[in-house]
């Protein structure tokens, strides 16, 4: 492979400079993406460790492995780490950072230094979170509900709050950077209707980041202030309303679930088109449904509060509105499916993850409809049914999409191929392990097992054992890619510039790309997913295996 050798020797963003300094002070979006990659993976391991401990504790009905307090801290920190330090940044800050400028033909994000600042804020927040965990932890649940968090918990609520607050600004700056970049930095000819769907998804995500995050930030400030100085904003003893906290919290945190899923949906659009070698079915519907989800996502937050004591009428309206978000999601699912029709489909690792995403997200989304249904939600809210729902969408959806994306762009990021066999095997193990872990929880929930329970009544044990067994399988499934991806960085087959023969500007530069992405600014005179005009490669050239 003569070309590959040349690729490896060409100057690129990885070998341009060496040394810690060149990484820690970099303003190159691709390097920053890698900084994020390392740090979110670290936090995923921490969160996963907590998850394993949770599952181990729940192996038996009695609370025997850890203390009740410890368990409460475990799920709180599992939730906080996974949501704020892993899932919200994972796709935007890793894949988004790497790909947004590449995909639109820009040299970098609009504000490279702010991009670096985002990462530092994330790290400061993360270190604070770690410090908080090591010196006692928090036990409020990731939702910080008052008055427990303000007046009763005697753990490090304020410190965790500050960590989430700082992290919020990291996410705001990322979103701001993306919006400006997508508006202002597109290569000539890259019109809105030619943007890759991943970019549309990032755009929609950034809108939510900008509009939602400040609200949760100020809410957390109020909680901290109330806790420190006994101002009575939420405290019923002082005339406050604890539900106001929930309103403000979910005003962000419901849209936040779309911060998580939208980028992954964008990844899926890229994967499905590439591995069916087709233009996406209904481009504009898929693109606009991202915006639709982002906007409608702001109208439904009180569906987390159906039994919390909101007014009957508010509950009715929020339930009805919740169903509206289902429509753009349905549009996406159906369009992806239709894209497969008459395609030319290969089952490489990224595509297997995409299939996994389709299955698991559909189940997760449909069970979301159960929860939006008032009569049913009253029974299953705050049970394992909810836990199963959100793991299906967050882990089954977002994480599958992310893993698919990481495999897909790995050659571009590192210049090396990952081992295909191991990739497919891990995709399979993750899929099986995932269902084994979380499907039983739907049943548990309907049978009435409340969440955040450290001990439970014995009749729930069988399903819990299944779930714990599944979690270990799942853990193996996640560790595998970490091992072989690391391995491939050194020993993997060198990748060509466009190993998948894919459409998109990012494949038109070298692998790995040079510091300013393109030797000369590309001019775009083709539509997105222009697979029609991409010649087929010969079987053996397609990088599979």
């Amino acid at each position: 492979m003569a070309t590959a050798v040349v690729t490896a020797e060409r100057e690129n963003y990885l070998n341009k400079e060496y040394g810690v300094r060149s990484w820690l002070l970099t303003v190159d979006h691709k390097r920053i993406a890698l900084l994020y990659l390392v740090s979110v993976t670290f936090f995923f391991l921490i969160g996963g460790l907590f998850a394993l401990l949770i599952r181990l504790e729940l192996l038996t009905p009695a609370g025997d492995l850890v203390q009740a307090d410890t368990y409460n801290k475990l799920f709180t920190m599992h939730g906080m780490v996974m949501v704020f330090f892993f899932l919200i940044p994972v796709v935007p800050a890793v894949l988004g950072n790497f790909l947004v400028p590449l995909m639109i033909g820009a040299k970098d994000l609009a504000f490279p230094r702010i991009n670096l600042l985002s990462w530092y804020l994330y790290i400061i927040a993360g270190v604070l979170m770690l410090h908080c965990m090591l010196t006692g932890g928090v036990d409020t649940g990731w939702t910080f509900y008052t008055p427990f968090s303000t007046a009763f918990s005697n753990t490090k609520v304020v410190e965790a709050g500050i960590a989430v607050f700082i992290n919020g600004f990291s996410s705001i700056f990322t979103g701001l950077n993306f919006i400006v970049t997508i508006h202002r930095m597109r290569a000539p000819g890259m019109t809105w209707s030619r943007l890759p769907l991943f970019i549309w998804a990032q755009y929609a995500t950034s809108v939510i980041m900008i509009l939602g995050t400040p609200v949760v930030a100020v809410t957390i400030v109020l909680v901290a202030v109330e806790r420190l100085f006994h101002l009575g904003i939420f405290d019923p003893k002082l005339g406050g309303d604890p539900l106001l906290f929930q309103h403000l919290f979910w005003f962000y945190s419901h849209p936040a679930v779309y911060i998580m899923i939208l980028p992954s949906m964008g990844v899926i659009s890229e994967l499905i088109t590439c591995f069916s070698r087709k233009r996406i079915f209904g481009y504009s519907f898929v693109a606009l449904s991202s915006i639709g989800i982002a906007v409608l996502g702001f109208l439904v937050w009180a569906h987390h509060m159906f039994v919390a004591g909101i007014s009957l009428y508010a509950a009715l309206i929020f339930s009805a509105l919740s169903y509206l978000v289902g429509v753009p999601s349905a549009i996406k699912v159906f369009n992806w499916t239709a894209t497969l029709y008459r395609g030319s489909i290969t089952y490489s690792t990224p595509m297997l993850y995409a299939f996994g995403f389709l299955g698991l997200f559909t189940i997760g989304g449909l069970t979301g409809l159960f929860l939006a249904c008032l009569g049913v939600d009253v029974h299953v809210t705050d049970t394992y049914f909810v836990v199963a729902h959100f793991h299906y969408v967050m882990v089954g959806g977002v994480l599958m999409g992310y893993l698919g994306g990481i495999h897909f762009w790995w050659p571009k990021i590192t210049g090396r191929m990952y081992p295909e066999f191991w990739g497919r095997l891990s995709a399979l193990i993750v899929f099986v392990g995932f269902n084994l872990t979380f499907f039983p929880q739907f049943i548990l929930g309907y049978l009435g097992m409340p969440r955040r329970y450290y001990q439970y009544v014995p009749e729930y044990q069988v399903l819990n054992v299944l779930s714990t067994a599944g979690a270990t399988v799942l853990g193996v499934g996640y560790l595998m890619p970490m091992v072989y991806l690391l391995w491939s960085m050194r020993y993997g087959k060198p990748a060509s510039d466009n190993p998948w023969n894919a459409a998109g500007l990012e494949w038109m530069t070298s692998s790995p790309p040079p510091t300013f992405n393109f030797d000369e600014t590309p001019v775009v005179d083709f539509e997105a997913y222009d697979y029609e005009h991409i010649p087929e490669k010969h079987e053996e050239e397609v990088a599979v295996g």
């Binding site: 508006h183 609200v215 005003f251 109208l299 909101i310 007014s311 009428y313 309206i317 929020f318």
Partner: protein
Amino acid sequence: MSDTSEHISSPKLYVAIWLLLMVCTALTVGAAFIDLGPLNTIVALGIATLKAVVVVLYFMHVKYTHERMTKAVVVSGFFFLLLLLALSMMDYTTRGLG
């Protein structure tokens, strides 16, 4: 926005806007002392909004920008704020009823 930089508002205009804002401030203080029933709040907020709009349009140059994006950003900012306020208040105003 490219136009903001090119458009140069004259100091006279700025001073005129400033005067308008000062008059509005006087008005709002004055109106607060007149009993208008429930209208008091509306008048106070109406004047505040007028002032805000003037500041946005003239001091912040939104009037002169040909960039639709800036306008869209400003409008959507206020729109989502209103969503937050309106949908929350929907709960509070109907609590006693059900």
